[in-house]
């Protein structure tokens, strides 16, 4: 162990990652709960666009004692059942990645084997309750009764990231976190240990700490700039390096899903919130100039733009280490993957969860940092493969898409695609990331077609399977018909009675 026990934690950055970390650390109970100070520096801007999430955020919110209703109300949040992918396989085609399965196993096999056998794999979405509900504009929380069809899906949220940070700031400061605002002008390292000892702020102020969490975003003020941890660049796999973001007025309906629409050199997001719609265009600057990318975004808004467009620049990859000495990077300061599958906050959650578990109360030790690095590197790699997959298949003909299909990909993903196309099997390498139904949704959605199905699928009589599948479709359709419209659900749920419809 190095030095005394850790009591004072200093977080640099007042965006989503910073305040999520602050709230989590203030929620740590017991005699070792740290003292948390968050330094918000004006020159460290927050991304602050509409944010889409994965269902895992609900675990974080429960763990951090975030009241769901207050959170939804204060962040203008909406519910999310998945992502619609438009024009990814080819212009005019769409498919859905829902937060749920495609029905129960059939005779011990994933249902997609029977769909392949019957030549119905194009209809995969029809067996996804969240996909059907989302496309019908309906939402209802899943049932807790494991026997119910309504228990077979999950949900996440869309919210205004700036409002989310503000909401968490209130909760964290109420729980004891100190909020300091000031420009960081220098970072002092201990001459003997090399550990960060204090932050120097403008106006002769200094913030000392035992542990420093770098949530300074792309700037990576502590881990990257101060400690010089190199960045492993993945832009040869994921060349999209810029985005435009702009909010626009909403529509009457609030879709309970994110929409991702492929374009000439990237893709556009559409995130419906209660008070507006968040829009963005991620693109590869080597294939499309900034103005063309902006024009595409602005031409496809559903309503009047509510602010000036903002440009973001980024690079896919992550720092070679996430925890060095007494500094841990959480969020964009540790790495970035384009938000195609809404994984940014998921990576923050996972970083926080590991930090809490490995919290160095008894002092710093390299074993703790090694464990953290190992976990986060695996998390990034698992999501990386899933994101690259979206670009790998499909039939779009623009130079960007041709280049994406021609370039080398990680061996792990190449093996995954090969295995699926020739056997129908899906290999899960990171059990904490996307599960088999997610991979199936993207693979089939992009047009991958296994050459064969599992041999045991043939044991079930064909007509019996067809009846089973038809009944599954009917049950989903019936259930979707009982679900309220998304906007109506939110309004009633947030109403004064507070009771769910």
């Amino acid at each position: 162990m190095t030095g005394p026990s850790i009591r004072r934690v200093v977080i640099v950055g007042g965006g989503t990652a910073g305040w999520m970390t602050a709230l989590a650390l203030t929620r740590m109970a017991g005699p070792h709960a740290p003292l948390v100070t968050l330094v918000e520096s004006p020159e460290i801007g927050t991304v602050g666009v509409g944010e889409a999430t994965l269902p895992t955020i609900r675990h974080f919110n429960v763990w951090a004692n975030v009241d769901e209703r207050a959170f939804v109300r204060e962040t203008q949040a909406t519910f999310k059942l998945g992502i619609e992918f438009r024009d990814w396989r080819a212009p005019g085609h769409s498919f859905f990645h829902g937060f749920g399965d495609h029905g129960p196993d059939i005779a011990g096999l994933s249902p997609h084997h029977q769909l392949v056998r019957l030549g119905q794999s194009e209809a995969l979405d029809a067996y996804s309750l969240p996909a059907q509900a989302a496309l019908a504009g309906r939402f209802q929380p899943p049932s807790a009764d494991a026997r119910s069809l309504a228990s077979t899906y999950s949900y996440a949220y869309h919210f205004d990231a700036s409002l989310y940070a503000a909401h968490l700031r209130r909760l964290a400061t109420e729980a004891g976190a100190e909020h300091v605002q000031g420009r960081i002008v220098d970072v002092d390292l201990d001459g003997e240990t090399g550990l960060i000892s204090r932050l120097r702020l403008e106006g002769e102020r200094a913030i000392e700490g035992d542990l420093f969490v770098d949530c300074s975003g792309f700037r990576s003020l502590l881990l990257g700039q101060t400690l010089g941890v190199p960045f492993d660049d993945w832009s040869h796999w994921l060349p999209a390096d810029r985005a435009w973001a702009v909010p626009c007025a909403g529509t009457d309906a609030i879709e309970p899903y994110t929409r991702s629409t492929a374009g000439a050199a990237g893709w556009r997001w559409r995130i419906p919130l209660r008070h507006r719609i968040g829009n963005g265009h991620v693109y590869a600057s080597a294939f499309q100039d900034d103005q063309a990318a902006l024009d595409t975004l602005m031409a496809n808004l559903d309503g009047e733009a509510l602010a000036e467009p903002r440009q973001l620049r980024f690079k896919a990859g992550h720092r070679r280490r996430f925890w060095v000495g007494n500094c841990i990077a959480i969020g964009l300061s540790g790495g970035f993957l384009e938000p195609l599958e809404s994984t940014s906050i998921n990576l923050i959650e996972r970083g926080i969860s590991q930090l809490v578990q490995l919290f160095p109360f008894a002092g710093l030790h390299p074993a703790l940092a090694d464990e953290y690095d190992r976990y986060m590197a695996n998390a990034f790699a698992g999501i990386r493969d899933f994101v690259i997959l979206h670009y790998r298949l499909g039939r779009r003909t623009e130079p960007f898409w041709q280049a994406m299909r021609d370039q080398p990909i990680p061996d792990s993903l190449a093996e995954q695609i090969d295995l699926f196309q020739r056997t129908g099997e899906i290999s899960i390498r990171d059990p904490e990331s996307f599960a088999e139904p997610s991979w199936a949704a993207i693979l089939f959605g992009l047009g991958a077609q296994p050459a064969v199905h599992h041999p045991a699928a043939d044991i079930e009589p064909r007509d019996a399977v067809e009846r089973h599948l038809a009944r599954g479709r009917d049950l989903i359709a019936q259930h979707v018909g009982t679900m309220p419209q998304h906007r109506r659900f939110i309004e009633q749920w947030l109403g004064e009675t507070g009771s769910r419809p």
Binding site: A107, G108, V356, V452, A456
Partner: protein, 365 residues
């Protein structure tokens, strides 16, 4: 599609256990032929790990049937210098379905130097010491118990054979052999074995087909044939069970054998890594200093953060905790998530659990 033709080479417990289980898991897909091989007869008694209970359930082999020629095995008996005679119990500490986390709460107390002895919190250990379970025992206590078997090898093999054959597994009258050093397996009369896949379940009776564990070409080695682990725990049997499940998933299909084999072997490597680290742990408990980088990492996780292994494992967290504690490792800290559960209440739960074991398992030596 009629399904693949699979031949299992071997005539021992591993061959018949694989045959019976695989037949069920693959929903009787294709044909399954067991071809005996000549191999040295093993021990009179064989140990089975707790995980075999799932296979027995699927094969409808009742515990009462096994009790006629075997007895429950409540843990791993360490043989050797350091921990000689020590028992690493199976089962869980506390109710696995209970609130909070018994193990993490214990680690918290251990890091503070005031944990109750683990031995007093294990119903499995009480059973191993001769405790008799009362008929009206608390369901929580029953849920905490997990056992393997120590069983008459010949009778168990015969039972598995009977079950396998009743499920449609065929048995060859002719035996298999292989020309050394690297010939293809064939019948002893010289005829070729017609099969899409040959499963080496010979328990080492045939020469290893390759130098690598797993599936290579049309030969797949399982159990002892895949990896001989000289450990006090029947990992080979656990390996046979998982091999059957894995092969049922990656059932051979046309023109895809190399791809299926690659994925099978990737998963096997993960499993063997877990077994290797568990074996290294048993060796250390027996006083042999076996190098293992993974085990060193587990030790650091436990000592500095009070965390138990989180990789895919043949062992549960509770077994690892028993092993770490038997080696005298003391965590310097613990998972702070457990601080959400009241300290005093945790202590009360330990006391109540220990009292329940004393009350419901009388008659211990």
């Amino acid at each position: 599609m009629n399904g693949p033709r699979i031949a299992i080479l071997g005539d021992g417990i591993e061959a018949w256990l694989f045959a019976a289980l695989f037949r069920q898991l693959s929903r009787r897909s294709g044909t399954l032929l067991v071809i005996p091989t000549s191999h040295a007869r093993g021990a009179d008694t064989i140990a089975l790990p707790p995980v075999v209970a799932g296979a027995h359930h699927l094969l409808r082999i009742a515990p009462a049937t096994l009790a006629a020629f075997g007895q429950p095995r409540y843990g791993i008996r360490i043989v050797g210098a350091g921990g000689a005679g020590a028992l690493i119990p199976y089962g869980s500490y506390g109710d696995p379905e209970g609130p909070g986390n018994f193990v993490d709460a214990w680690i918290r107390l251990r890091s503070e130097g005031r944990a109750p002895a683990l031995a007093a919190l294990s119903a499995n250990r009480a059973l191993q010491s001769g405790g008799q379970l009362r008929a009206d025992s608390d369901p929580a206590l029953l849920r905490s118990i997990s056992a393997g078997w120590e069983i008459d090898a010949d009778r168990y093999r015969a039972l598995l054979r009977e079950v396998a054959v009743s499920h449609g597994v065929l048995c060859s009258a002719a035996t298999a052999a292989m020309d050394r050093p690297a010939g293809a397996p064939h019948f002893t009369d010289g005829n070729a074995i017609e099969a899409d896949l040959l499963i080496d379940a010979s328990e080492g009776g045939l020469a290893a087909w390759t130098n690598e564990a797993g599936w290579h070409g049309r030969i797949l080695a399982i159990g002892t044939a895949a990896r001989r682990l000289d450990a006090a725990e029947p990992f080979a049997i656990a390996g046979v069970l998982s091999a059957a499940a894995r092969l049922a998933t990656f059932l051979p299909r046309p023109d895809a054998m190399p791809l299926l084999a690659r994925e099978y072997n990737r998963l096997l490597a993960i499993e063997l890594a877990g077994m290797d680290s568990a074996s290294a742990m048993l060796a250390r408990l027996a006083g042999r200093d076996t190098p293992s980088a993974t085990l060193d990492r587990y030790e650091a996780r436990y000592r500095f953060a009070g965390l138990l292994p989180a990789d895919p494992q043949p062992w549960t967290r509770d077994i690892w905790l028993s092993a770490f504690d038997a080696l005298g490792w003391r965590p310097e800290h613990y998972d702070p998530n457990i601080d959400r559960f009241d300290h005093d209440r945790s202590t009360q739960r330990f006391d109540a659990w220990r009292a329940m074991i004393d009350r419901h398992l009388p008659g211990r030596a």
